[in-house]
């Protein structure tokens, strides 16, 4: 089988104070927007304790048990709702497991049931074929499932922001490897429109011009 392996996202520009972003598929992950702490955990398994979700590695993960796990995730930097998706979750999928998984997500007191993470695929521009992203584990490649979240669906708008969310109903094949928010600041305020008084002034000038012309 012809396998084309293209390693992406090798471009990491290290700065003195801030770690650089990494690109995973079409998404650019800012470390400052990623999970900082695990605030609660029950019925979950981990490859590396809480670090599995905070270390930004795709090869370490936290997964649920057969009874359904829950996980509280904290973000040091506030996450805002801007245009497009606001949060991304990356899961690891092994062979013979479902190509989509469902979990519950609670943000700001609003809960959405059965949020879907689906197989992370793309259309190859060269061949036109559907391809998928995989994670290299050294001894084999795992598929990726991805779920993107729009904070507006949870009532977060404008300058509202969140620093915590809770994932629940994590199944035994739901391996959460990375979660990160895209927007660390609110959208710029809308442009102030020209005051109505200016239009009134311009209209008045025009009217005066018309009157003077008629008098002549």
């Amino acid at each position: 089988m012809k396998k084309i392996l293209i390693t992406i996202s090798a471009c990491l520009c290290i700065h003195a104070q801030s770690a650089s972003a990494a690109t995973i598929g079409p998404y650019t992950i800012d470390p400052a927007g990623s999970v900082s702490t695990v605030t609660s955990a029950s019925n979950v398994l981990s490859t590396n304790g809480a670090d599995a979700i905070t270390d930004l590695e795709l090869t370490t993960y936290i997964q649920g048990t057969t009874t359904g796990g829950s996980l509280g995730l904290g973000f040091n930097n506030s996450l805002f709702n801007n245009t497009g998706d606001d949060i991304v979750f990356y899961f690891v999928r092994a062979d013979s497991e479902p190509t989509s998984s469902f979990f519950d997500l609670s943000i700001n007191g609003n809960t959405q049931v059965d949020v879907e993470a689906s197989l992370f695929t793309f259309i190859d521009s060269d061949s036109g074929l559907t391809k998928k992203y995989q994670i290299d584990f050294g001894n084999g490649y795992a598929d990726m499932l991805i779920a993107t979240i729009e904070l507006g669906d949870f009532g977060i708008t404008g300058t509202d922001f969140i620093n915590e969310l809770t994932i629940s109903n994590l199944g035994s094949t739901d391996r959460l490897a990375l979660a990160a928010g895209f927007n660390l600041s609110a959208n710029a305020p809308a442009e102030v429109p020209l005051p109505a008084a200016v239009w009134l002034f311009i209209t008045g000038l025009g009217a005066l011009g018309m009157i003077s012309r008629r008098r002549r």
Binding site: M1, L5, I6, A94, N139, A142
Partner: protein, 118 residues
Amino acid sequence: MKKATLLALALAIPATVIAADKDSVYAWGAWSQNIQPAAGPRIEVAPAAVSQPQVNFRPNENAAFNRVANTPAAVTPPPVTPPPAIPTPTVVEVDIDAPVIAPGDLPETTPFSLKSRR
């Protein structure tokens, strides 16, 4: 009428410029040359000498009781912890039917809870 208006404007606008007093106290002119601030007394304030509070400690007391008095005014902010660097993700693009690792070959997991870590 139109000519009269233009003539009036032509006279009125330069007139304001001509009429302005170039050496007025309301404008910078020759009068403002070599002006220096008035001499006045110099005031110097010397900070009070720092002294250790004189406390007669009892036998079972020590200088730790002075910690409030000895606390420096400036509070050092906690060091800013930069976010961790994202490791280079080893993500590959493959055909949709490319083989997938078996569940048993994935890294081993152990039960995790925040309570068990304390």
